[in-house]
């Protein structure tokens, strides 16, 4: 059915805000051109058809096979844990897009709390709601070929990933920190110049260092960089005026469940406080 020379693309949604898949529709200059080079076979936000307009209705599970699957969102239900396994089976390459798919997203804050209480706080009939106790990244369930960071992802990086995989090469995406991007952009360091607390030194590049250019400290929405010294970062943040609670909050937001942040409760004295309370 598929023309072998035109690669096929699929876009999938799990628990998320839709912002990362919207990034593809935000490629206004490239969208129609891209659709001529790639068969967008499965993308429910854009089309009700499977394939490119043959008229077959798209289904939640898809048909496949696909050359490249982009996956947005985290796994929070038993059905979704099944669905991602099937998507992996029918995809040659699988790339996660965004903080939810890569690290569990902001909804992974439940991993640190009691979901039954969460359910009761939001819903009058918690028994109607089926949900898992944790929000987990796609890589916790199936092998992933590449993880694109960000809450939300960056448009240029998305185009680079699509182009790279369709050309059968590795994406040219750096894993260094936001600090490098401030230098490239020519932004004066806001920590050095103004003492503004900033997560730039430990945060994965990719956004283009937007926040410091807007007089705001980086708040870590791209998650941890490839090599980070968390202890030194926490010390610097406190030096710049954050207290332990501020530090916990800023890390425990959009990439809360990143394993690189696991030492935070110890570094901010929360572990000691919890032990004290238990005694």
């Amino acid at each position: 059915m598929n023309d072998d020379r035109i690669p096929t693309l699929a876009v999938w949604k799990f628990a998320s805000c839709d912002g990362c898949q919207l990034t593809l529709l935000d490629c206004e200059d490239e969208l129609l051109g891209l659709a001529e080079r790639v068969r967008i076979s499965h993308f429910l936000e854009m089309s009700g058809a499977e394939g490119s307009g043959e008229g077959e209705a798209a289904t939640l599970a898809g048909v496949g096979p696909y050359d490249l699957s982009l996956v947005e969102g985290s796994v929070t239900t038993a059905e979704d844990a099944q669905r991602i396994r099937r998507i992996r089976q029918i995809s040659r390459r699988l790339v996660t897009i965004g903080a939810c798919a890569t690290a569990g997203g902001v909804q992974a804050l439940r991993n640190f709390a009691d979901v039954a209480q969460f359910r009761a706080a939001v819903y009058a009939h918690p028994e109607y709601i089926a949900t898992l106790a944790t929000s987990t990244p796609i890589s916790a369930h199936v092998p992933v070929d590449f993880e694109l960071r960000g809450c939300p992802i960056d448009r240029r990086q998305l185009l680079e990933v699509i182009t790279a995989y369709l050309a059968e090469r590795k994406p040219n995406i750096s894993a260094h920190s936001v600090c490098f991007e401030c230098k490239v952009r020519g932004t004066t360091c806001i920590t050095v110049a103004h003492g503004t607390p900033c997560l730039g030194p430990v945060t994965h590049a990719g956004c283009g260092a937007i926040c410091p250019a807007y007089d705001r400290g980086c708040y870590g929405c791209f998650g941890p960089s490839n090599s980070l010294n968390l202890e030194s970062m926490v010390r610097q943040l406190k030096h710049d005026g954050m207290n332990d609670q501020d530090v916990m909050r800023v890390f425990r937001t959009f990439n809360a469940a990143s394993p690189e942040y696991a030492a935070l409760p110890t570094l901010t004295g929360q572990d000691a406080a919890a032990e004290e309370e238990a005694r």
Binding site: K13, A15, L32, A58, T76, I129, I210, R216
Partner: protein, 453 residues
């Protein structure tokens, strides 16, 4: 009837909506006896994990409820918390906030008009298919959408989950000169926006009539977006209502007394009603309640497009024609954005301080899809003790279900061949898309089951 006996049809995907849901219809002896818009997108528990967070955090955190309308969440969260803390943001800071919000309206409404809704009127599955036949209108739509994104990128740092919004205003405000290229881009798409109104006004519209109350913010003199008073308008079937008798207002602080949410077993969204009746928020409601305050260029475009005279308070009751109203709102948003840029003088400070105090505050604004309400309670140390969020799609669920019922029933009542399941599926998808539901917001994806008995 050709379809006697129990019969279940599943259409596994309603596409071109934001989120995942399903439609379940029960038809018994030619009568639609039950219509359910099932929203089964997994819950993300924002209202629960906001408790215990800092009072400065909701603008960034609630933006992540919806990647399509993050600014609506940021603006509503800011205003609710500022109300709790007794702070008013006015003057140029308020104008800059409105400019950012108009950017989101332009982007989001153009997305829906061109990429999600227009393919329905041409029998296409997607805008890419539509572009093969009519490239110019789709490219025009993408240009308008891009201008909206440009507003958000300049003021917000980026279009999705802007970083520059904070309680009290912004981290950094632009110099006058920075806005000049934006004004240039907006002036270029002004004609595109007017051309879009003419394009969509020429579509074929099936006959249909809404039967629900309308709810939108209203402020005399302004097509309300970030201010005003919740105002409900009754729409008696087909007859022009006497405005004063049909409109009733209530303070935003009383919102939860009037708009009551209930949790139904088939949905992860909480469905709400207005004083016990189903209601609709969004473009059709705004146009009926605030149409007389549209920018003159937008009002003229509405008249030329056959929507009647908004200055005389005319309402549009056909949900299929909501695409024209959205196009008119884009014209209005472009004009208003240009007005703000022309009059802009940088404020003395990028933000005003919003120190915490033990208090409660609420606010409502007009997200592209309709009225969005937030309420927060804060303790003296600035920790949130309560968060309540009522998104537009959860409010619209009842009205959408009734719209589905009426459309399917009128098709069943038409003499001649009884409709096939495929025909009903197309009709249902269109009925849902007319209201641009954001299912991610209300907790996406529609899956149709027809149960024929």
């Amino acid at each position: 009837m050709s379809h006697r006996g129990a019969r279940i049809l599943r259409l596994d995907a309603l596409a071109r909506v934001e989120g995942e849901g399903a439609v379940h219809l029960t038809i018994s002896d030619g009568q639609v006896t039950d219509t359910r818009l099932r929203i089964y997108e997994p819950p993300r528990f924002f209202e629960a994990f906001l408790v215990g967070r800092g009072h400065t955090e909701p603008p960034d955190i609630t933006a992540r409820i919806c990647g399509i309308c993050p600014v609506a969440y940021q603006m509503t969260a800011c205003q609710a918390i500022e109300a709790a803390c007794g702070v008013t943001v006015d003057g140029q800071l308020a104008e800059l906030r409105r400019l950012l919000y108009y950017g989101e309206w332009i982007e989001s409404q153009s997305l829906h008009i061109h990429l999600l809704h227009a393919p329905d009127f041409h029998g296409h599955h997607s805008a890419v298919e539509l572009a093969c036949e009519q490239r110019e209108p789709v490219e025009r739509g993408l240009r308008i959408k891009q201008a909206g994104n440009a507003v958000m990128e300049l003021l917000g740092g980026r279009a999705i989950h802007p970083v520059n919004v904070r309680l009290g205003g912004f981290y950094r405000v632009p110099a006058r000169g920075e806005l000049a290229p934006l004004a240039e881009q907006l002036r270029r798409v002004r004609d595109d926006a007017l051309e879009t109104v003419r394009w969509v006004a020429g579509f074929d519209f099936p006959d249909a009539q809404l039967d629900c109350e309308l709810l939108a913010m209203q402020e005399s003199g302004r097509y309300a977006i970030d201010s005003g008073t919740p105002t409900a308008l009754s729409l008696p079937d087909g007859t022009a209502p006497s405005r004063s008798a049909a409109e009733h207002r209530f303070p935003v602080a009383e919102f939860e007394r009037h708009v009551v949410e209930e949790h139904v077993p088939y949905s992860t969204a909480l469905r709400s009603s207005l004083d016990g009746r189903r209601h609709l928020t969004g473009s059709l409601a705004r146009y009926a309640i605030s149409g007389r305050w549209l920018h003159p260029t937008a009002a003229e475009a509405a008249r030329a497009a056959g929507l009647g005279d908004p200055a005389a308070g005319e309402a549009c009751r056909n949900p299929f024609r909501s695409i024209i109203v959205r196009a008119v709102e884009v014209v209005h948003a472009v004009e208003e954005a240009l007005r703000i840029i022309d009059a802009y003088e940088p404020p003395p400070r990028p933000h005003v301080e919003v120190p915490p105090r033990a208090a409660e505050g609420c606010a409502a604004t007009e997200a592209p899809r309709g009225l969005l309400y937030h309420r927060y309670a804060i303790d003296a140390d600035g920790n949130l003790t309560l968060a309540r969020i009522v998104p537009p799609t959860a409010q619209n669920q009842g009205a959408i279900e009734e719209d589905l019922r009426r459309l399917v029933q009128s098709r069943l009542d038409r003499p001649g061949d009884s409709p096939t399941d495929e025909e009903l599926a197309v009709l249902c998808e269109r009925a849902v898309r007319n209201h641009d539901p954001c299912i991610s917001c209300s907790t996406h994806f529609l899956d149709l089951t027809v149960d024929r008995r």
